[in-house]
Subunit: 266 residues, 2 copies
């Protein structure tokens, strides 16, 4: 993955302090290893009930880590002391479904009716796989995973509907069972795979041409394994063209105070 | 538990049809074994976002099985074809926190702004324990479990706050580990225990005097084991005295089309 700054402090609170004052605006992969990183979606209260319902109905692509009351900027449950307006390295601002700005701070855009959603991220289950001895090509080569829109429809909620986006990792057939087991421990970080094997079965025509991210090469014996992806909630929210929406910039996640272990089901 | 009518059909759809026409108005325990039964909370849209948030933050006492859009009466995800206004044997209607009516049908009270919440119920994890050879005294003696308000505060959300209510079952010390394992499989039906052992540690002064339900006798070697209880969401919702709220009448649950196995995490 992109930039690994080994000289950075490794506690979430310290890292967020550096991000807050604008001294770090890069991707967060490999920062604070063992701590949960989160996808960010901010929507006006007007759309928040439907979006919360959408996440509740589609927990695999949209695992809720924390949802904050309208206007609240401190994620008191997962990250006391943090400020959601300044503690991510980079944001994306959308108006009527179009990106209009990519700032490093959103304090100037804050409103009393904004509801913040923090959603689980693949870093958590990927670390569990690596810890279990399952190699991940994109970790070893500082690349992104490969992602596709599938023919698996999300369960709609109010204005929100759309296809499930998946990420794909080549896994050796001898390690697939173990990969299912270790990722199943983290239902709040996408959990178990959605599909193992045949890409066409879920509507993917060309395994060498991802819709997002980087192509993954296959070694002999490796099989494509697909997980629900955190790109889904943003893609779905954008599709409904909300008048106003803020997300993290891809890879520039919110680093919570939670340990991966706090997120484990068992 | 109370009434076991062995002559009733055992499919949820058939049982709900009989309930719908007013031919069965008793408790639902032991009906449709292996199918998920659910607690019911209906609130106006005005309170629904905060209550949804409360459930999201307190998944052990308030496990969401299905939440329906405002005005929708068919639980399309878990129980297509059902009608939430008629398919429970008995309801409770509250105005400003006071019970005003206990009807067998709520069609006359329906409004376009009502949001229905279906929450997991202890029947699911109790069946898992019985299937695993862990005897439950209240199943064998057709009684209720023992329940207490504890000193474990729920995480508040908007107007909703209050203590966690727990249910207690005496478990032999040789079977406690197994009880933790089998109930952990069902996070959407209260999941693993909240506490094992000392009642005082969670604010329970007298294990022989439950706040709700029946006292449970202890055999030699049995230890009190406590689980988060579905009484919590109703108690908490009532505490905030919503202008209008409908719940199931205790024990008179909604029988879904879902199998217990559909609810299992693993």
């Amino acid at each position: 993955m992109a930039t690994i700054t080994r000289s950075l402090p490794n506690m979430p609170t310290e890292i967020r302090k550096i991000i807050r004052v604008g001294e770090y605006a890069d991707v967060t992969s490999a920062l604070a290893p063992g701590y949960v990183q989160a996808n960010l979606v901010i929507l006006p209260k007007e759309q928040a009930f439907d979006f919360l319902l959408f996440c509740q109905r589609n927990p695999k692509p949209c695992p809720l880590i924390e949802v904050m009351e309208p206007g609240v900027v401190e994620p008191k449950i997962t990250s006391p002391g943090a400020d959601i307006r300044s503690d991510l390295p980079k944001y994306r601002v959308f108006r009527n479904g179009e990106m209009v700005e990519e700032p490093t701070d959103i304090s100037h855009l804050w409103r009393k009716d904004l509801v913040t959603f923090l959603l689980g991220c693949s870093f958590t289950f990927e670390k569990a796989m690596v810890d279990a001895g399952i190699p991940l090509w994109h970790w070893e080569h500082a690349k992104n995973v490969a992602m596709w829109r599938t023919n698996i429809a999300c369960t709609p909620a109010g204005a929100f509907h759309g296809p499930t986006v998946v990420s794909m990792r080549p896994i050796h057939h001898k390690q697939i069972v173990r990969a299912v087991q270790v990722t199943s421990r983290f239902p709040n970080a996408h959990g178990a795979p959605l599909h193992i094997g045949n890409p066409e079965a879920i509507g993917i025509k060309d395994i060498t041409k991802p819709d997002y991210g980087d192509e993954q090469p296959f070694n002999p014996g490796q099989v494509p394994v697909f997980w629900a992806c955190g790109v889904t909630p943003q893609a779905v929210a954008l599709q409904s063209k909300p008048p106003f929406m803020i997300t993290h910039s891809p890879g520039h996640m919110f680093i919570t105070n939670m340990r991966d272990a706090d997120l484990a089901a068992l």
